[in-house]
């Protein structure tokens, strides 16, 4: 895997928009064009060369070192290749990702993976609110791909999500899967309050719920074949980092019956 490495010289003086830093985009630029890219978000033009030292040669990956939570839109619109981030990222990392892999080796801010339709986003730390969720102006949240978070996820993960999978090795905050119309959210340590509010379709999986909405109906214990496929899918994508296979039997709650009620909340313990 070859590619350019961008090392931050110091903490940025303003929030940065790093949506340009994908392997394909920077491969189309000369060195001078690259260094002159505007990565600032204020009226004061901040060039990439003012913030980063660049090394290596263009290839199928991009590495960002010394990243902070003031760097937004990292890995945005990635279609192929890999973006590796050493450190934290800010808002909307992996926004509209369509393929490839975004590997964040720190924490992520709000709207991680908003609008993604393919590829994978891996987060070593925790993520803020609205993981895979709806950004203003969009019709849906994520519509495909996989977001895997080693730590916790904030509130409203998967808001208006349509397809794809969010895996949280830690805990999900409140209102996970709100307004969701499809896809899967799987947490290892449980959901906060009111998961699945206005859930139309889709699957929420976890060992516990802090407070269950009254509009979810107990459907009993079941051996659900699709969960076996889900476990195998996760193993195929994440390899050794994949979660342990789901148990044979789960307790199913159908909802949200305040809407069409074709979604489900599956309790694994």
């Amino acid at each position: 895997m070859s590619g350019l490495t961008f090392r931050a010289n110091s903490a940025p003086s303003e929030r940065l928009n790093l949506s340009h830093l994908t392997p394909k985009r920077i491969a189309e630029l000369s060195q001078s064009e690259l260094m002159a890219l505007n990565v600032g978000t204020t009226t004061k033009t901040l060039k990439l060369g003012d913030v980063f030292t660049v090394s290596g040669s263009a290839g199928d990956s991009v590495r960002i070192e010394g990243a902070t939570n003031r760097m937004d839109f990292v890995g945005s619109d990635l279609k192929e290749g890999t973006v590796i981030v050493e450190g934290d990222v800010g808002l909307s990392a992996g926004r509209n990702l369509r393929g490839g892999r975004l590997d964040i080796r720190g924490d992520a801010g709000a709207l991680l993976g908003s609008g993604i339709s393919g590829g994978e986003i891996l987060v070593k730390g925790s993520a803020g609110s609205l993981v895979g969720g709806l950004s203003p102006g969009d019709k849906f949240g994520m519509t495909g791909g996989l977001i895997a978070i080693e730590g916790d996820a904030g509130d409203r993960a998967g808001d208006r999500m349509r397809r794809g999978t969010i895996y949280v090795r830690g805990r999900c905050g409140s209102f996970a899967g709100s307004r969701m119309v499809g896809g899967t959210i799987w947490t290892e340590l449980g959901f906060g309050t009111d998961p699945g509010m206005l859930l139309r379709r889709g699957t929420l999986i976890g060992p516990s719920v802090e407070r269950m909405l009254p509009t979810f109906a107990d459907a009993g214990d079941h051996d659900i074949v699709i969960l076996r496929i889900l476990s195998r899918y996760m193993a195929s994508v994440l390899g050794a980092a994949a979660p342990k296979a789901l148990p044979g039997k789960v307790r199913k709650f159908a909802g949200d019956l305040a809407t069409i009620g074709k979604g489900e909340l599956l309790i694994t313990s």
Binding site: G164, V225, R228, R232, Y233, K262
Partner: protein, 299 residues
């Protein structure tokens, strides 16, 4: 030419281009995966009369199936992708959906796809849901023992081969059948092929046409031992029975390999069982685009 005392005709099997597809059927146990697979394969002998040629390719261990349960791979061959898709839809709907604990997945991975769950999902009457994981979409249809999971599409091979064959002739009907059974079992070890007739063996080889209007095929009188003397027979005086093994495969190479394996078994064990000759069925080479010369397939 003789090998181990068995004559091998200087001829060839003539086979045809077909559309081939496949599914993986899983269940709680191999017994029930097999029951669904056998039921789906029923009445799937000849594409002419049955609409499709269907059979079990092989059993799959839990490691090889999408849901980690025991499974069976079934292959289905039709005249065209459209006719194969129509047969697949009705057979899966009637024989797999109905079988306890079953699930059904794509068994062929090609870019060109045909519907698999697109019909059976409507059995869910609006309660069905789907889940897309990676590139695959699965339908979950509520049924009385839980959920029937079925993948939305499966692959279709448009240059598959149907009608590879060997004819085994001999002077002991029981010994001939035992030899043919062993050959079919050996062919079962070749990937991507099926032997669609009962137990993999045909006793009613056919010729094109009939004296009766409307019948497109009729008994192959030249190979019927009881007609010797009445017709221009292809059989030696001591031949009292002929059995045929018909082979369909997703690739021409797999059909050739299956014929090779089948012939080897017959040559290895056939002579003491009364096998005297191996030949093959063809139409003079004018109808089918695939020709498998027996002597080039000798082990």
């Amino acid at each position: 030419m003789k090998v181990n005392g068995i004559a091998i005709d200087d001829t060839f099997a003539e086979a045809f281009g077909m559309a081939g597809t496949g599914v993986i059927i899983t269940a709680d146990t191999m017994k029930w995966a097999r029951i669904a697979a056998v039921t789906m394969s029923g009445f799937g002998t000849s594409v002419i009369g049955a609409g499709a040629e269907v059979g079990i390719d092989r059993e799959l261990s839990p490691d090889e199936t999408p849901d980690g349960r025991p499974g069976v791979r079934v292959l289905l061959f039709g005249f065209s992708p459209e006719s194969a898709a129509a047969q697949l839809k009705t057979r899966v709907g009637q024989c797999v959906l109905t079988s306890p604990g079953s699930a059904c997945y794509a068994g062929v991975d090609t870019k060109k796809r045909i519907g698999l769950g697109q019909g059976p999902r409507f059995f869910g009457d609006g309660f069905q849901t789907s889940k897309r994981l990676g590139k695959s979409r699965y339908w979950r249809v509520p049924v009385m023992d839980g959920e029937f999971v079925i993948e939305e599409t499966t692959g279709i091979v448009t240059d598959a081969v149907g009608g590879g064959n060997i004819l085994i002739l001999g002077n002991d009907r029981v010994g001939l059948l035992e030899t043919a059974e062993a050959a079919v079992e050996a062919i079962g070890g070749v990937a991507d092929v099926i032997t669609p007739f009962p137990g993999g063996i045909v006793r009613s080889g056919s010729k094109v046409g009939s004296k009766y209007a409307g019948a497109i095929a009729s008994t192959n009188d030249a190979f019927c031992p009881t007609l010797r003397g009445r017709v221009k027979s292809e059989l030696a005086p001591d031949t009292i029975a002929v059995l045929e093994i018909v082979i369909d495969g997703l690739t021409s190479d797999s059909v050739a390999q299956a014929m090779k394996v089948g012939m080897k078994t017959v040559l290895d064990m056939g002579a003491p069982k009364g096998v005297t000759r191996i030949t093959a069925g063809n139409y003079g080479g004018k109808l089918g685009q695939y020709h498998y010369k027996l002597r080039e397939l000798l082990p």
